[in-house]
């Protein structure tokens, strides 16, 4: 049971970390005058890492959680977080970030 709440919060915590890090990193890189390529690499890396982490937590969640509804809920949370992570990072990767 304790796990259920943690398993619901974890994906969103990962989303939040990804969000803060990529927003913070781009702001920092742009304001210190790094070129766009550096920033793009950072974004791609952060996003890939976040998605891998999300999938890994889902894998463990499915193992830890006993009931089917709980697993579905964990999967839904992960799904939403994956969409949000990819969706927010797309423009930052595709656009010329520091303009």
């Amino acid at each position: 049971m304790t796990n259920f709440l943690a398993r619901l919060l974890l994906p969103f915590a990962i989303w939040f970390a990804h969000f803060s890090i990529s927003y913070g990193a781009t702001t920092l890189l742009c304001s210190t005058g790094q070129e766009t390529g550096v920033h793009r690499t950072v974004m791609v890396l952060a996003t890939v890492l976040a998605v891998i982490l999300l999938i890994a937590t889902l894998a463990t969640s499915v193992r830890v959680l006993k009931s089917r509804p709980d697993r579905i809920a964990a999967a839904a949370a992960t799904g939403l977080a994956v969409i949000a992570v990819i969706w927010t990072s797309l423009p930052a990767v595709l656009l010329d970030a520091c303009s």
Partner: protein
Amino acid sequence: MKPPSSLPNTLPRPRSELAKLKAVWHLPSGWRTITAVNNTVVGYFYIATAFLFFLLAGILGLLIRTQLAVPENTFLSQDTYNQIFTMHGTVMMFLFAVPAVEAMGILLLPQMLGARDLPFPRLGAFAFWAYFVGGLVFFSTLFFGAAPSGGWFMYPPLTGMKFSPGIGADFWLLGIGFIEISAIAGAIEIIVGVLKTRAPGMTLTRMPVFAWTMLIFAGMIVFAFPAVILATILLELERAFGWPFFIPERGGDALLWQHLFWFFGHPEVYIIFLPAAGMVSMIVPTMAGVPLVGYRLIVVALIATGFFSFGLWVHHMFTTGIPARSLGFFSAASMAVAIPSGIQVFAWIATIASGRLKLTAASLFVLGFLFVFTLGGLTGVMVAMVPFDWQAHDTYFVVAHFHYVLFGGMVFPLFAAFYYWAPAFSRRQLSERLGKWAFWLIFIGFNTAFLPMHVTGLIGMPRRVYTYPAGLGWDTLNMVSTIGAFLVAAGVLVFLVDLVRNLRLTNTDSVGNVWNAGTLEWLPNHAFGTRSVPFVNSLYPIWSTRDLARDVERGGYFLPGTATGSRETIVTSAVNAEPQYVMRVSGPGWAHLSAAVFTAAFFLLLTAKLVIIAVACGILAIASIFIWMRQSDPAPAGKAAIGGGISLPTYMSGPMSHSWWAMVVLSLVAGALYLSYVFSYLYLWTVVPDVWPRPDSLPGLPVLAVSGLAASAVALWAADRCVRLGRRGAFIGLVAVGVVALIASLAADIWSQWHAGIRPDTSGYTAMVYANAVLQAQIVAAVFCMALFAAFRAATGRVDSLRRVAFDNLALFWLFALGQGALGLLLTHGFPRMAAAL
């Protein structure tokens, strides 16, 4: 916890048991009712006041519409108009919407969770009275022409000293800042209440969706409100002492305000909406006669919405010239948040489809909500697209959009809630006939008023203009909007008639479960909640347990009387709801009331620059809080049998106790405030790095300040040992030394900055340095007061190895002060050196 195989307490119960329970929970009568702290009484006061502000701000809305009905109208002057729309927005958001949902939580949660009361009844009452006094005074500034006029989001430079020299802006900053403190007090109450006072067996997955939403609501308040509190502190420092945080020509940045405001302001929209969604999730299953479809998915969606809403704030700033990366980032994030909202809407529709919806007044308001809110969501996705927003920003299109979201997402559900829950608290049901009249008038009126505004905006009418010339094609549309607004007013009037005719609030003999609902708030209720505390085995216990209402009312379930002779409720574990101890909750009193009044007076007098009286009121407020705390620190009183062979302690300290949870949440609030500050500091540096000093003009390394913190930490550690060993004298001495060291550390740092020639009003950077000291001083002052209290309790023999809550609370906050102090030194001394090296 396993369900009990038979009723935990034998029936029938002795007569005296109920009599004693009644006596302990007796409500003060007559004018002493204002000292009452029962969640129902405070809940009634709270909702009534919030609704009063809805009416007042609604009247302001009508004044706005009257002024705009025809072109070149002279009904209101420009300045009055500015005050009126600012007050309309501010009052609707801060004095109606947030308090109204908080009030619903205070009224409904204990009943719904099977608790006798909230864990800190006086804190809830304090929050209410502070809001009541502060709100009324704030509103009355309008009658003196001294109301703020900078719009509800108060952007500087317009609201800086140069362009708003009057006192109105200060009223906004101190008044609203203060009312937010009241909201935070309520949020702490709600978090601890939801997590710790649920009936045995009500695991998190058996918790009603409304309770989930209130938990998320309160959690969001904890993280969002500190941002705007910090913003108000900074702007007030700028206005009062000339510290130039937001003045670009002096090394500040006006956009910093917008970041802080919207980091609060966007989640605020969901803070208002989520509890409303929770209410809808309670009403729909009952009216359709089936369990909610996709309970867990809804919970996931709610949590997702809560989180995602913190990543959207910049979409209010698309037209400020921010870089492309921010535009893309926040535009995309704004669209992503539509997904969880969609999940909820589909779950409600599926529930309606799987049952048979009774078309009651409450159902009508829910359907109205679905329609209006969905339209608001659609225009929301439109304005989330940057090119579209560039066109629509600051026009009536946006006014239309956010009224669809706010009125649709919050006012319709609230009316549904009134019609739905009234029978649980009133001797008479509200009239279905009047309710349907009210609904149709409000629904048709609302759409008549606000649908045309989309067009008015698209053809170019800006918001916040007090009049407009004829012949631009805006005339008819505006007239239609005004007629619609008065239709809404007519609907609200019908509702008021219904209230007067039918609402008969009661604590003993409500009509009861007329809708055949399944959740606990529909059990027979009294001033003490239910007669006995039920065991919960499903999401809809009344549906799933035979004769639950009867057995609960006869006292067959847990704690059918009072175990210690005072007011009590059962504390259970946060996730699995295993009984942990019986907590004594406080009854009626004056101390929290005078604390509220004097705190309000402190802030308001400060605004009026009556510093000496303000300080006197501040001292009286602290004294009141001392008395209040002294009364809520009961001695351990042995064990209590609650039935079913379960015997629980009646005193608890440490991580299981309710006070520990409250202190942790309070520390989170303080932490969020400080993180907002760290963000502001770093943000300002990215904008105006030139005003950051070279390392050689910095003060030397803060050796003294660090040693002060270290000494304080050692004293804390030693004081803790003394509590364990029962050494009273040494304990008091160590607390004194520790607090003095804490103060000395802060003083040393301020002195070193000053000595290095740094003055707060020089630039954005220097202002930030001293803002750090201000924030630390607040925390240190709180630690000082708590230390005084703990020392006082120890001196009179009321702190020992068992009874240690007074010290535990101090220790937690003390630890926080040490952490924040260290972080502050790292930031103000370390960062400039690091930045110079970059």
